[in-house]
Symmetry: C2
Subunit: 429 residues, 2 copies
């Protein structure tokens, strides 16, 4: 990579992306295959570069989970390349016609999907993420400016070099995929609203919030994942216990893990002892409100607990007098991510699904299913807790927009208004 | 209306909206019919209130176009009530199922549309707008907090009183529709991101920009409408002249009117004299670049003109050497609203439609067609020049979002990962 200013780089990406935007599905799939082949050919160099990163990271005393994410081996690299080829197999999100309508004779409107333009993706020190993100960008017809965690710098550089080498023999301009290497460039990137159409920050909530606060570019990503499970008075006991354990302990750091358990007061004496036993067996720290403590002594949950995303083996528990109270608590404290009810009462379930305001509302299953792959989207570009679409787990559709194309034969607007106005046919084709 | 704080009012609207959100289409349509009947019954009071507003406005020396917008008479009121009934006839945007998928046996995912919650709409001094907006809000299942231009205060109060009276006999809580009456409340409203899900500002570009700069609530509305018409070297001359005149003069204050005309250098000597004559006949002030001035003397267009949205009978004209240069100019200076090419060359047309980055890209027709009613959406809630959807003219779909509903039978996520992971069926139902 030569030393160019970030603005110049973004401009070049934008130009390359404009051409990439209109390529055929076959051309994009060929480019993805070329990327996969180049990555395979460069495996030795990539693993060597990753070795340097890993050595440095160990010297810096990186934590084991972070080290495991950073570390590449042949199997992991092969898996990432296979995943890239999978992205090639996904349906092309571009060029889909939503509306095809004759407005009047000879005046035809089409609404069709098109790429956003240029994506800015800032992600953790996980070299394999580069491969996945670059593949999603090419498949969706977008240019992409990548910035990975600094611990992965050598790995990311070697991977992007291979990707660009692969693209150079295709119709996709290698300038479509760019890599930033310094932390300072992140803030600069966030200022480039003229050249970057969407920012996707991956990583901690704090980081996502930092990005949201420092850019006018739309941001795809959620800053909070504060999910609840509500055990209704008509809950099936074994389901309640098993789902609570799964939703809390399967992967506590995930945004779709639960932080607060709500239990109907009527069923609490029956359900609490079993749940507490099952969670304590898995080393979950429990914090209960007054009602909970009366049944089973435990640390108290304070007001702050209802707003806490622990992302850890901690769970707050609160008793509620009614379904309505559970819904009100969730709509007050939830982050609109994913909320679940356990009940055998179909009216209660329907009420919960209708009145809880969240991207995902679940009945008798674990909140942990909130995930693009599990939903069958093939790939996930992020999870959005925004109220406006795209909402929830977002597949390739998060990387596209649409435009209205209209073709006439010299049609003027004036004749369609005023006295003796022509009328529209509005006939879907 | 009693004196309550804006926060209290917003909370009440939110509670009412939560119930409105889940009403059936029939119930919402009944409410709209009740609104129409109450408005009809209150016609005398509404027109009397409007008389007070008009008298005051005349005393204040309001301009004639603003006065005409403010002024209600029986015909205009009847028209607005008929328009309200038309909204009742539109398809219900809520409850549409986009995705219905079995993830695994007994685990079923649905993505379905739902209301946003509460809308904040700030509009000009046009009393009939209250009727339309309230109708769109009820139809889409949203609560709405309205603020009209201060000149229309008595008219708006009387109209909202009638609407709420009409709703009081239906399943829609009258608190779903609220009216703010002071200018200070606008800024307060913009701070209520906890209670308001979307702000729709109508009015001047300056006002829209002000709203965008003063709220964290998503804003539906465009601050700019800087549209171009490009006359290609293969343009049909009569089409070029007629469309230019229509796109500039049909309604110069509209956001979809053109501000800059680009002409291919090769066709300029032939086309310019006719266009200039036709535009001057309609009192359009013309400003040309060097090339234009060599063919026909006129005032010079400066760099500032390429970024100017005149919203008036003024047009800047620039010669370009190629289609690519036209596209580059548009992608640099355009506001991504609506852009048109006049050409008989289908390759040129396709290139233009593909490479111009705007919500609307048109071939051989006037930019003035960019409008929700003309597109056949039945109603328009605004035009968006944002890159992310909704983009362009937005119908009821701008007032809705979606949620994912999942129903299981005790499904846990853990068995679907790790060794011997269960696989998903991902079968669309």
């Amino acid at each position: 990579m030569t030393a160019v200013s970030l603005v110049e780089m973004a401009q070049r990406t934008r130009q390359a992306a404009a051409k990439l935007a209109v390529l055929s599905t076959a051309a994009k799939n060929q480019a993805i295959e070329a990327m996969a082949q180049a990555l395979t050919a460069a495996a030795t160099d990539i693993l060597a570069a990753n070795g340097i990163d890993c050595q440095q990271a160990q010297a810096d005393g990186i934590s084991l989970p972070l080290y495991n994410r950073l570390k590449l081996d042949e199997t992991k690299l092969k898996g990432a390349i296979a995943g890239l080829r999978d992205v090639g197999q996904l349906p092309d999100p571009v060029g889909q016609v939503h509306i095809h309508r004759e407005l009047d004779q000879g005046l035809v409107l089409k609404r069709l999907t098109c790429p956003l333009g240029v994506l800015g993706v800032v992600f953790e020190a996980r070299p394999d993420a580069v491969i996945q993100i670059a593949g999603l960008a090419v498949k969706s017809g977008n240019g992409v400016i990548l910035k990975g965690g600094k611990e992965a710098i050598h790995s990311c550089q070697e991977i992007v070099r291979a990707i660009r080498r692969g693209l150079s023999a295709t119709t996709v301009n290698p300038e479509s995929v760019q890599l930033l290497t310094t932390r300072e460039e992140i803030l600069e990137l966030l200022q480039l609203d003229q050249y970057v159409d969407l920012v996707i920050p991956r990583g901690s909530n704090e980081f996502v919030r930092f990005v949201q606060d420092h850019t006018r570019i739309p941001v795809l990503g959620h800053a909070d994942g504060l999910c609840h499970l509500y055990i209704d008075e008509s809950a099936d006991l074994p389901k309640a216990v098993e789902i609570t354990v799964d939703a809390k302990t399967d992967y506590p750091a995930a945004c779709n893990a639960i932080e607060t358990l709500l239990i109907h007061r009527a069923i609490a004496p029956e359900v609490l002892p079993e749940i507490v036993a099952a969670l304590q067996e898995r080393q979950v720290e429990l914090r209960g409100d007054g009602g909970v403590q009366k049944i089973i002594p435990m640390n108290p949950a304070t007001e702050a607990d209802w707003s806490a995303e622990y992302s850890d083996l901690i769970l707050s528990i609160k008793l509620v007098d009614s379904l309505d109270m559970a819904i009100a608590h969730i709509n007050t404290y939830g982050s609109k991510h994913t909320e679940a009810i356990i009940t055998e009462d179909s009216i209660a379930a329907e009420t919960f699904l209708n009145f809880v305001d969240a991207a995902g509302v679940y009945h008798n299953c674990s909140t942990r299913f909130a995930d693009g792959f599990r939903y069958g989207f093939g790939a996930e570009v992020g999870i959005s807790t925004a109220k406006l679409p795209p909402r929830g787990p977002v597949g390739l559709e998060g990387l596209i927009t649409y435009k209205y194309q209209m073709t006439g034969q010299g049609h003027l607007a004036a004749p369609y208004s005023g006295n003796a106005a022509k009328s529209f046919t509005h006939r879907d084709l």
